[in-house]
C-alpha cells in the first residue's frame, strides 16, 4: 500500500516538475524547494552516519583506534567558518584536506593522464596492419596538433598557425561526438520518466 501510494505521489511530483515546460508556476517552484529540502535532509543523514558514526565514533570508541582523534578535531575546525571572526581557524582543515589531495594527485595524474596517454599515442612498432598504422598516425596528428593549439607561448602564424588549425578540426569532431552523446543522455533520462509514468504507475494503480 505504501509502495503504491508512493508511486502515485512520485507521479504527481513528476508532473509538477514537467509543468515548468508550459511556464514557470507555483507547483514547479514548490516541488523544487521541497526537493532541495528533502534531498539535503537525506544527504545530511548519510554524511553524519558515514563521517561521524562510522569513520569516527565506532572506530575510536568501540574499536579503540585512537589515532583517528586528530582527524575528527581537525574536521570540527571547519565549523568555525560559520562566524567571520573565527573563520581563519577553518583554514587548517581546508589546507590539510586540499594539500593531502594535491600530494597524491600529482604523481598519479602525471602518470595516468599524461605519460600513459603519450605512450598510447606513439604507434606500436609491432603493429603491421596498414589500416591500424594509418589510424594510429591519425591519432598522433590529432593529439599533437591539439597540443599546439593550446600552446600559448608563440603567435599562431606560419607553420604553427596551420598546425593549430588542424588541431581545431580534431577538437570540433570531438565536440561533435560529445554533442551527440549528450543529446543521447538527455533523451534517455526522459525515456526513464516516461517508463515510470506509463509502466510503473498503471501497475501501481492496478494494485491500489
Amino acid at each position: 500500500m505504501a509502495e503504491e501510494l508512493g508511486i502515485l505521489v512520485g507521479a504527481l511530483l513528476t508532473l509538477a516538475i514537467f509543468s515548468l515546460l508550459y511556464r514557470d508556476n507555483p507547483f514547479y517552484r514548490a516541488a523544487e524547494h521541497l526537493l532541495v529540502g528533502v534531498s539535503a535532509g537525506y544527504y545530511v543523514v548519510h554524511y553524519f552516519y558515514a563521517a561521524v558514526i562510522r569513520k569516527f565514533t565506532v572506530p575510536v570508541f568501540q574499536q579503540g583506534e585512537w589515532w583517528l582523534l586528530p582527524g575528527g578535531l581537525l574536521g570540527l575546525l571547519i565549523f568555525f567558518r560559520l562566524r567571520p571572526r573565527t573563520a581563519w581557524l577553518s583554514r587548517y582543515a581546508i589546507a590539510f584536506y586540499v594539500a593531502a589531495w594535491s600530494g597524491y594527485l600529482i604523481p598519479s595524474v602525471l602518470q595516468e593522464r599524461v605519460l600513459t596517454q603519450i605512450a598510447g599515442t606513439i604507434p606500436d612498432p609491432a603493429a603491421a596492419a596498414p589500416w591500424a598504422l594509418a589510424m594510429s598516425l591519425l591519432v598522433l596528428v590529432g593529439v599533437a596538433s591539439i597540443l599546439v593549439y593550446f600552446y600559448f607561448s608563440a603567435a599562431h602564424t606560419g607553420a604553427l598557425g596551420r598546425i593549430s588549425r588542424v588541431g581545431i578540426l580534431f577538437l570540433m569532431a570531438g565536440f561533435g561526438a560529445s554533442f551527440g552523446y549528450t543529446v543521447m543522455g538527455r533523451v534517455s533520462l526522459l525515456i526513464g520518466r516516461f517508463q515510470y509514468l506509463f509502466e510503473d504507475l498503471p501497475r501501481a494503480l492496478g494494485r491500489l
Binding site: L20, D24, E32, V36, I106, P107, L110, Q111, E112, V114, L115, T116, I118, A119, T121, I122, P123, D124, P125, A126, L140, V143, A144, L147, V148, F150, Y151, F152, S153, A154, A155, H156, L171, M172, F175, G176, S178, F179, T182
Partner: protein, 259 residues
C-alpha cells in the same frame, strides 16, 4: 639498504616527470614574480570583446555577464572575474550598462568590487550601480530562469557566458539567441562546450579561457604556471616525435614512460 628497499624502482619515470615538471613550474613562477617579461600570444576570442561592447553601445542596449555556477575557488570562476574586469572597463569607456545576475553571493561581492574599480579606472565611477550586479538564487535552474527572464526583459545586445557551466548552458544560450544578442562564451566544461560553440558567436575553449584571463591580468602566479605548462607541452611534443621516429626504427620507447 638496496635502492629497491626504499624506492619503487618501477615508478622511476613518474618520479622523474614529477621532479622535472615541479621544477619547471617553480622556476617560471619565480621569473614571473621578478617581473621578467614572459610572452603570451593574444587570445583571438578576446578581440571580440571590444567589438561586442561597441555594438551594445550603438544599439543603446545593456550587456549581460554571467560567471557561471561555480564558487570563487574554481579556476574558471577566477578567470571569469579577470575577464569581467576587462569587459567592465570597455563598458565604462563606452558608457554602456552592465548587468550581472549571480548564483554565488561571494562571487557577487567580488564582481561588484571588480566592476566598481574598472569604472573608476576609466574615470567613470558615477556609472557604477550595485543593483546591476545582484544575487538570484542557489538553485541551478532557478538561476537559469532568472538569467533568461533578465534577457527577455532587458534585451541585452551582448551576452557573456564565461565560467564553469552545467546543464543550464543550453537554456541560456538558446534564450540569448532568441533575443538576437551577440553571444560570447568561455568555459572549461567539456560537455557544455559543444552547445556554446553551436549557439554562440564566439567561444573560448577550455585552456583558452585560462590563458585569456592570464593575458588580461598578467597575474604572476597564473602567468608563471601557464608558461611552465607550455614548456611541458613542447617537451611532450618532442617526445611524441622522437618516440614515433624510434618506433619506425624498431625501438619501442613506450615502456620507458612508466606503468
Amino acid at each position: 639498504m638496496t635502492p629497491a628497499g626504499w624506492f619503487h624502482l618501477e615508478r622511476l619515470p613518474t618520479a622523474a616527470a614529477t621532479l622535472f615538471f615541479g621544477a619547471l613550474i617553480v622556476v617560471f613562477v619565480l621569473l614571473a614574480r621578478r617581473g621578467r617579461p614572459l610572452y603570451i600570444r593574444r587570445i583571438a576570442g578576446l578581440e571580440a570583446v571590444d567589438e561586442a561592447v561597441g555594438r551594445a553601445t550603438e544599439m543603446g542596449r545593456p550587456i549581460l555577464y554571467s560567471a557561471g555556477l561555480d564558487p570563487l575557488e574554481e579556476v574558471a570562476t577566477v578567470a571569469s572575474i579577470n575577464i569581467l574586469g576587462q569587459v567592465a572597463r570597455r563598458a565604462g569607456e563606452y558608457e554602456t550598462r552592465l548587468i550581472m545576475p549571480n548564483r554565488d553571493p561571494i562571487v557577487m561581492t567580488v564582481a561588484q568590487e571588480v566592476v566598481r574599480e574598472a569604472y573608476a579606472a576609466v574615470g567613470r565611477p558615477d556609472l557604477y550601480d550595485p543593483h546591476d550586479i545582484y544575487y538570484t538564487t542557489q538553485s541551478q535552474f532557478g538561476y537559469a530562469a532568472a538569467v533568461c527572464g533578465t534577457m527577455m526583459r532587458e534585451r541585452p545586445a551582448t551576452n557573456f557566458f564565461i565560467g564553469h557551466f552545467y546543464a543550464e548552458s543550453l537554456v541560456l544560450a538558446e534564450t540569448g539567441n532568441a533575443t538576437g544578442a551577440i553571444q560570447i562564451a568561455g568555459t572549461d566544461s567539456d560537455s557544455q562546450l559543444p552547445f556554446f560553440i553551436c549557439a554562440c558567436d564566439y567561444t573560448l575553449i577550455g585552456e583558452e579561457l585560462y590563458a585569456g584571463s592570464v593575458y588580461l591580468s598578467r597575474e604572476p602566479l597564473l602567468l608563471g604556471a601557464l608558461k611552465g605548462q607550455d614548456l611541458a607541452k613542447a617537451i611532450l611534443l618532442a617526445l611524441l616525435a622522437a618516440g614515433t621516429l624510434l618506433a619506425f626504427l624498431g625501438v619501442d620507447v613506450r615502456p620507458w614512460l612508466g606503468r
